[in-house]
């Protein structure tokens, strides 16, 4: 049977706008009237989180030289989760010395094959401790357990698995050249995907024969310290991986240490610029994964229901704490009203609350500081004349929670359109032609990721080529894989992580 028979004729009286192809197409999603969700909390009894964590240097957990500690807060209840060491220049120096020694004495001496086997071990132990890591990630950072369980931790293990296999095959990766390791890598990672970002940094560095001093973010240090246990248990030679905890000043000690050969940073564009400036003239290699303001472009020939799911996934995944979030929806004029209504209906079904609950869609905002920042942007948006809409869901009394939010009636020059908010906040603009969509998509200093939604293949390639960003998700959004290079154009960063391209930043010829 041909589909043509079932299609309804174009309604000329209605300006030729496409009619729904299914009688149910415009039916509203209504979960609440029919189903009550019972609490479904993940059991966390078996997860041990120490009261106090120390640095991991030269294969041992060592107290900070100055003896100072900071606190990590569970953002879902604002209670102190644990203490962790505050790294000073002395600690960083010890870590760099350990990494240098390990580089000279062991890691650069053993064969790629043996290196790879160590990395495979790390991948396996992450898989073995997956549930514990997922729960820890959720308690420490506030992200929904469903996400840390199904996305962050499996992808982290997969990343180690992928790069383990590269360790003895590097000569095939760079046609005509013989790659060499660089030395000691200083790596600074953010709080939005703690164990996953750790994997993105450490796996390629080790596979290419480098040693590492890594600093996790000050609001989410725990899984990195559990990873330190994994390194110890895997028998990884002492000093190959060192974890130093602390805040921005600890990070700058790593960046400015003269015996560090390479800096890899993931975080905000503001800090990325400071780091790029600090290494000026030193010859240190640098990779930066910075901010974004991802345009998510929906054409009127897109599959609308799928697009709505994509829009939700693009901006509300991980509370919008995603550098590549699709935070700017660009929707073609003819379908704007319908799409926005569908989006609002879908937003009503999102559950905001206890991150450990398996039904939760949107967890806690990662920290008080970030929570305040998001609220400030909501004010800015309203003051700029934008129209704010939030879902009506309930949110817990304690902890930092933000309802999914959209802004309509915004213009390209608004701060909420130009600046990265890093929260569950979406701006919506309309466009008429592909050219206008491309123009608006490219009109920010960022260029990390974009979405294109259309059923027309040639349009995907036209728009995908013209939009200047490192990742183009067509008819999908926020997909990640260890084999897939990730990284930005323009002010979204320098270099790529993941895939064969993710090896480049860690080698020299």
């Amino acid at each position: 049977m041909s589909d043509i028979n079932t299609k309804e004729p174009i309604d000329k009286a209605n300006n030729g706008s496409p009619k729904p192809t299914s009688p149910n197409a415009d039916r509203k999603l209504d979960f609440a009237s029919f189903w009550e969700y019972s609490p479904a909390p993940e059991n966390s009894d078996h997860v041990e989180i120490d009261e106090r964590y120390n640095h991991f240097i030269n294969g041992e957990f060592v107290e900070p030289v100055k003896g100072r500690y900071m606190k990590s807060i569970n953002p879902a209840n604002e209670e102190v989760l644990c203490e962790f060491a505050e790294g000073t220049s002395e600690d960083v120096d010890r870590a760099v010395k350990a990494a240098r020694k390990a580089y000279e004495k062991t890691w650069s001496k053993i064969s790629g094959k043996e290196r790879g086997k160590y990395i495979f071990r790390l991948a396996r132990i992450i898989q073995e401790r997956a549930r514990e890591l997922a729960i820890t990630e959720t308690i420490d950072g506030g992200k929904p357990i469903r996400e840390s369980r199904d996305v962050d931790v499996p992808l982290a293990a997969a990343h180690f698995f992928y790069y383990a296999g590269w360790a003895d095959k590097l000569n095939y990766a760079f046609p005509g050249r013989k790659p060499k390791s660089i030395g000691v890598c200083g790596q600074i990672i953010p709080w939005n995907f703690p164990i996953l970002m750790l994997a993105w940094k450490i796996a390629p560095a080790l596979a290419t024969g480098n040693t590492v001093v890594l600093k996790p973010a000050e609001s989410t240090p725990v899984t990195a310290l559990k990873f330190a246990e994994i390194c110890r248990d895997a028998g990884l030679p002492a000093g190959v991986v060192n974890i130093v905890t602390g805040a921005g000043t600890t990070g700058s000690e790593i960046v400015n240490h003269p015996d560090v050969n390479k800096i890899a940073f993931t975080g905000s564009t503001i800090v990325g610029k400071i780091i790029q400036k600090s290494v000026a003239g030193t010859g240190k290699k640098i990779t930066l994964e910075l901010g974004g303001k991802g345009p998510n472009i929906v054409f009127e020939d897109a599959p609308l229901d799928q697009a709505v799911e994509g829009i939700v996934n693009a901006i509300f995944f991980n509370q919008g704490h995603v550098c590549c979030a699709g935070s700017r929806l660009l929707v073609q004029e003819g379908i704007a009203d319908r799409l926005i209504q569908k989006l609002k209906d879908r937003m009503e079904t999102l559950i905001v609350g206890d991150p450990l609950d398996k039904n939760t869609d949107i967890g806690a905002i990662n920290s008080k500081a970030q929570y305040d920042r998001i609220l400030e942007y909501l004010d800015i948006g309203v003051n700029e004349g934008a129209e704010m809409y939030q879902s009506s869901c309930s949110i817990p009394d304690n902890g930092y929670f933000c309802r999914p939010t959209i802004f309509t009636n915004v213009s390209q020059s608004n701060r909420i359109v130009q600046e990265e908010i890093f929260g569950p906040v979406l701006t919506i603009q309309t466009f008429r032609t592909p050219e206008e969509a491309i123009e608006k998509a490219n009109n920010t200093p960022y260029g990390l990721a974009s979405g294109v939604w259309t059923d027309k293949g040639s349009k995907i390639f036209k728009v995908g080529q013209a939009v200047r960003s490192g990742v183009i998700w067509s008819n999908t959004y926020n997909k990640f894989d260890p084999t897939s290079p990730f990284g930005g154009y323009k002010e979204s960063g320098i270099g790529r992580e993941g895939g064969l391209h993710g090896l480049y930043p860690y080698i020299k010829f």
Binding site: K273, I460, G470, D481, S484, P485, Y489, K490, F509
Partner: protein
């Protein structure tokens, strides 16, 4: 019989496919190193740099949109044009005190280098692009893509060969550029602009400025509409300044200090890749 009075050449800049003088109307003396006057060159201003960046940005879309095959042909055409003007460049290089044999070798190597990079235009994405076997129902591929406008700071030595070795890998893949020619030895670069002009290179793809570095480098390296910098100047301070200013807009910086511009090591695709982004596209697979 009196000797014929030679017609001397006025050296100007090459911006947006035209040959304007500096908007500042200033010039400075170029000598042969023994203080014998060769010519006057334009002493470009900050405004000249900004104008050149604007021309470069305007040309980017069109040049980038050309097919790789076409860009390869244009680069090959530059080599053809240069071959035909070999004598002019040999003589110009000799003015700065270089011997005939060295000058001829420089021109020959420069022509061959253009041909080398002309051949990469339609191969780079085949050698360095990937199809990525993601663990989900998606088709996923990565391809190198031009980064945009590149600021180039040329060295003093081998002013034709070095300039071509820097420009060719940058423009081959669709980037456009603004080049600051050597302060002391800028004339072959300016004349090379005439070759570009006669070679089907669209105006603005390559822009060549002359003048005092301390009047132009700051503006070039801090200009926010430049995406990447390629520095071949040996001056360490300039290198550091470029690094620092690059951080204002997260520019990619390549410090390229060559010992021997004649060496075959300058002919490789890795310099081309420094001025390319990797773009990765996902699409679901399903019926």
């Amino acid at each position: 019989m009196a000797d014929r009075i030679e017609v001397l050449k006025t050296y100007k800049t090459y911006v947006g496919g035209k040959f304007p003088r500096s908007e500042s109307d200033r010039t400075y003396r170029i000598t042969d190193g023994k203080d014998n006057h060769i010519a006057n060159a334009c002493r470009c201003s900050r405004k000249d740099v900004r104008d050149a960046v604007l021309a470069s940005r305007s040309a980017f879309g069109g040049w980038y949109a050309r097919t790789a095959y076409n860009r390869g042909q244009v680069l090959y055409r530059i080599a053809e044009m240069l071959e035909g003007r070999k004598d002019q460049f040999v003589n110009e290089l000799k003015l700065s005190g270089v011997k005939q044999k060295v000058a001829l070798n420089e021109v020959h190597t420069a022509i061959d280098r253009l041909i080398y990079f002309a051949g990469w235009t339609d191969k780079i994405s085949q050698v360095f692009g990937t199809v990525n076997p993601v663990a989900s129902a998606h088709f996923n591929f990565s391809s190198p893509d031009a980064t945009g406008v590149v600021g180039i700071i040329a060295p003093d030595e081998h002013p034709l060969l070095s300039v071509i070795s820097l420009i060719a890998p940058v423009i081959a893949t669709g980037n456009t550029c603004v080049l600051l020619a050597s302060e002391t030895n800028p004339l072959p670069a300016v004349s090379f602009g005439e070759v570009l002009h006669a070679s089907d290179v669209p105006g603005g793809v390559v822009n060549i400025l002359t003048g005092y570095r301390n009047e132009t480098v700051e503006t070039l390296t801090s200009h926010k509409d430049i995406n990447a910098l390629l520095l071949a100047s040996r001056d360490i301070e300039t290198g550091k300044l470029a690094d620092e200013n690059a951080s204002l807009s997260v520019k990619r910086v390549v410090q390229y200090r060559a010992e021997d511009w004649f060496s075959g090591e300058h002919e490789n695709p890795y310099l081309v890749l420094e001025f390319m982004e990797t773009k990765t596209t996902w699409h679901p697979v399903g019926a």
